[in-house]
Symmetry: C2
Subunit: 62 residues, 2 copies
């Protein structure tokens, strides 16, 4: 499984937003996220760092 | 292998920027990319779309 989990970093804490992410797409001032189960989320955030080895995508409020 | 390849989309064509990407981090007006071999690149671009199932990260000039 090559998907990653998306976390929102807020005041130094990481909040899990979506597991097993397959698609991430910036749209205007938000991010569109979709996982392998077809779950979709939009969140007002930007990418802070992606680490595909650790399967982690860190987001921060934009 | 869970890494993805990064492509720059330019005039409808995709140019391979870095293979086997492990880390991607936005820095000011550029993106920092690192692959599993320790190769590093900085490119003035933004993320257009990531598809982790297809192992593809599409970038566009920012």
């Amino acid at each position: 499984m090559c998907e990653a989990n998306a976390y929102l970093v807020k005041e130094g804490k990481e909040e899990l937003i979506l597991e097993d992410l397959s698609i991430l797409r910036p749209e205007k001032d938000e991010l569109y996220l979709q996982n392998i189960f077809g779950e979709q989320k939009r969140i007002k955030a930007r990418i802070k760092e992606m680490n595909l080895i650790d399967h982690r995508i860190l987001l921060e409020e934009g």
